[in-house]
Structures are given as structure tokens and as C-alpha cells.
Amino acid sequence: MSPAAEHPLVQFHAVRFGYAERPILDGLTLALPRGRVTAVLGASGGGKTTLLRLIGGQQRAQSGQVLFDGQEVGALGNEALYAVRRRMGMLFQFGALFTDLNVFDNVAFPLREQTRLSEALIRDIVLMKLDAVGLRGARALMPSEISGGMARRVALARAIALDPELVLYDEPFAGLDPISLGTIARLVRQLNDAMGLTSILVSHDVHETLAIADHVVVLANGRVAAQGSPQQVRQSSDPLVHQFIHAEPEGPVHFHYPAASVADDYGLGARP
């Protein structure tokens, strides 16, 4: 099952990014298909969130190119970058709602800032977006008054408020109860299909993610370790991918942090 690779919406060409101590992405090359849900899996600190930040232009690659719809994001000036960002929506981990605004104002924020629509029209759009995530009745509540799962849904409504082409999800399932988790997963899938979006989902949650993804990418050592359909990745023979997908404690990623031998630490060596 090959993805729609003719005109990928997002591309990475030999992208390198890292800090002085260690590289996070090391020659990453990737094409993310249009109109599909792509899941990006990998170990913590493996570069998944960095990937999203590079697509959004919040950070610049040190070498290589990050392309959004053919434009190199890292080379854009401020105006052009803001124009590109208006075509994207991002759901941050834990929502990142504006705590001084209520639910309605949070979702209305991008509309009020980026468009000149009348308040009446904005109201209708906001209520529609909130309805899509099932929270139309919660519109007057403050972020401090709603649960984590609800906050995540409000943030989702806010991310799609301007009808973007691309939606980026940074660990959308982190810390959620099973019901909320299932709800969010279903919403990601439904919105992608209903609105013709391209979705890029970064997550640890293998089970839930593979259930809704069309295309899966596994990152390791700053590169693509495996990619393909969920089925293909589940059956991959690569030891790192296998350990990750099947949640095995021992494999290329070791259980024990490097340490001295047991004998040395417990003083068992020197016996008369």
C-alpha cells in the first residue's frame, strides 16, 4: 500500500539538527504523504518533537532542507513564515490553551487575529468547531475548569479553526484516560478524512497510533529506522523497531544504564 507520494506536502532532505553535545537528527530524509495520517514513533529524545518544530519553522535545520508544499521553511522571512503557518494547525502536548481566556475565546483567537470576519460569523465558526469535538456546551468554561482530555479537545478545535491543510499533533495521547484517549484518536481520524487534512502525529502510544495511521515512520538514531503501513511496521524484522512496537524491555535499547559490574559495585570481588 504505497502512500500518495507524488506530491508530498512535507519533505525532509538530509536534515541535520542538534546541539553541540549530540545530534538529534542526522541526515533525515522523509516524504510525508498528502491527505493521510502519518504517525511518527520513536524513543524519547529521538527527535520527534524537533521534527514538528522544524516543519513549523520554530527551529531551523543546520543543514539539509525542510519543505512545506515545495517551499523551504527554514529560508522564509517573517512575513512568508507567518503566511505558511496560517496553513498549519498544531496541537501541543497538554493543549497549551491560553489560561486567561475561556474555551470560546481560545478557539476564536486565531479567527480574531488572522481574519476580519464579523463577530457573528466568528461565533458560528467557533461553535461549529467546538461541536466537531463535542464541546459546544462547554464554551463559557475557563481552561482551569475543564479536564485534561477536554482541554486537549478544545486545543484541537483551536488548531483546526482556520481550516488548515496540515495539522501537527505533539503527543496528543499523553496522560489521558482511556475514554479521552479513544475520543481524541477517533477525532484525529475523522477530521483528517472529513476535512481532507494531512495529519502528522507524534506519539509514544503504539497501539492507539497504529490503529488510526495510514503511514508509520519509526525514528531512531536521528534517522528513519523503518516506515510503511502499520501492518508492515508491526511485522518489521528490524530489532529496534521490533523492540519498540512490541514493548520489549531488552533489545537494541538496553534496560540497564551503563554501570560498573555488579561485583565491583557490591564489593563482592575481593574475598580472601
Partner: protein
């Protein structure tokens, strides 16, 4: 090894210079954003309310007590020279020229400055600033600039209120309590306080301190490490740096304004 130490020092100096340049550019940007802020009047108004009205209590009460103490101490000293009739002048000049601007700015740094730093720092920690950037809204224009201009507008007002309340407080202690002649209290004052040189300079000091304190508070919040300890450190830095800046600027301004 000295080579390494030298290159470390060189690196530190470079970093310090870079942060200085960054700060200067941000300050310039905030000044340039005034028309934008005025166009979004509601943001400015909300911040003036938050920074100004909520500081009135501490400014008013502090001003009153400083006025009391000035009158008390001033009376004891002037009494030794038999010149208690100039008490009003003493209280007024002390407040208008120095104590109003300086203590007002220090209190503002402690009350409003720390809340600004904490607010911005927590927004950063909660990824709200990142979220705003991704929605193609510039956080400097939307969040920092209205707060900056609100601070610049609010502090001169607070300084004036402090001085006025202090003078009234001084009257309360000096005239009914200590028996200084009421007419002399106001008369000597009016004869010695110049509207342009003293009250005017007080306003100028208020403006300069407003720029310094508000900018430092916003900068520390904006650059804070997005963790609880990071925000706590940032608020401490705000108070320390803003206080030192106020005292240092006060010296410079006083020398310029009142120097011979």
C-alpha cells in the same frame, strides 16, 4: 589550561554581549510597536487596569507612611535649629524629587514586576507562546508590547500619587500632631517647590523608571527557563535587576537634573 580559561572568558564575554544586543533589539522593537498597541486599545486598557489599579493600594499606604516618617524625623531635626516652619518644604522636596520616584519604582518592581515575569514565564512553560507563534501571531506584539506600554504609562501616575499622598501624610503628622503651623507648611512648600524643575523632573524619572522596570520584568519572563524553578529564578532576577537599575538610573538622572 590557561588557554582554556581564556577561551572560556572570551566565550562568556561574547555571550554577555550577545544577550545585551538581544535585549537592546527587543527594547527597540517594543518602542516601535506603540502604534500597534494603540490600535489594540483593549489589550492596553486591560494591562493598565492590572498593573495600575492593583498597585494603588500598596503605593497609597506606603506613601502615607513615608510621609508620616518624613514629617516625624524632619521635625526632630529642624526643631534643633528652630526651623520647623520649613517642614512642609522638606517633606515635599524629599518626596517629589527622590522618594516618590524611587520608592514608587521599587514597590512597582516588587508587586507588578514580579507578576509580569511570572505570568510570561508560566505562559512560556505552558507552551502558550509557542502556540501563539504557530498561529502566526507574534507574541512580542500581542503579549509583551501592551504590558510594556501599560507599565510606562502607569508608573508616573503611581509616583505622582505616592508623592501627593506622602505630602498629605506629612501634613497629618506635622500640623495637627506636632503643632507645625499649617499655613507655614503649605506656604514654605509653595515657595520652594518648582512646578517645572521638581514636579516635572519627578514625572521624567517616573517615565524612565517605568521603561526600565517593565522592560526588565518582561525580558526575564520571556527568557525564563520553562520550569517551575526557572520561573522562580526569573522573578528573583527581576526584583534584583530592576531595583539596581532604578537606583543606578536615579543617580544619573539626579545628577543631570539637579546638578549645578
Amino acid at each position: 589550561m590557561t588557554h582554556k580559561a581564556l577561551s572560556q572568558i572570551g566565550l562568556s564575554v561574547r555571550l554577555w554581549l550577545a544577550s545585551l544586543g538581544y535585549g537592546a533589539r527587543l527594547l527597540l522593537r517594543l518602542f516601535v510597536l506603540l502604534p500597534t498597541v494603540l490600535r489594540r486599545y483593549t489589550l492596553l486598557r486591560d494591562q493598565i487596569h492590572f498593573l495600575g489599579n492593583y498597585s494603588l493600594a500598596i503605593i497609597g499606604v506606603s506613601g502615607l507612611f513615608v510621609g508620616f516618617v518624613l514629617a516625624l524625623q524632619g521635625y526632630y531635626i529642624l526643631n534643633q535649629f528652630g526651623s520647623t516652619e520649613v517642614l512642609g518644604l522638606l517633606v515635599a522636596l524629599s518626596l517629589i524629587r527622590e522618594l516618590g520616584p524611587v520608592i514608587g519604582a521599587l514597590l512597582f518592581a516588587g508587586r507588578a514586576g514580579t507578576s509580569l515575569t511570572a505570568e510570561i514565564g508560566l505562559m512560556k512553560a505552558g507552551e502558550q507562546l509557542s502556540a501563539m507563534e504557530m498561529m502566526a501571531v507574534d507574541p512580542v506584539a500581542r503579549i509583551l508590547a501592551p504590558r510594556f506600554w501599560a507599565g510606562v504609562i502607569v508608573l508616573p501616575v503611581l509616583v505622582t500619587v505616592f508623592s501627593a499622598v506622602g505630602i498629605l501624610g506629612g501634613w497629618l503628622v506635622g500640623v495637627p500632631l506636632l503643632g507645625v503651623d499649617g499655613a507655614a507648611y503649605w506656604g514654605q512648600m509653595q515657595g520652594g517647590v518648582d512646578v517645572w524643575a521638581d514636579v516635572g523632573n519627578s514625572l521624567v524619572k517616573g517615565l524612565v523608571f517605568g521603561v526600565a522596570v517593565t522592560f526588565i520584568a518582561l525580558l526575564q519572563g520571556y527568557l525564563a527557563t520553562p520550569t517551575p524553578e526557572g520561573v522562580a529564578r526569573a522573578t528573583t532576577r527581576t526584583v534584583v535587576m530592576a531595583s539596581l537599575a532604578v537606583l543606578g538610573l536615579d543617580f544619573v538622572l539626579t545628577a543631570l537634573m539637579f546638578g549645578v
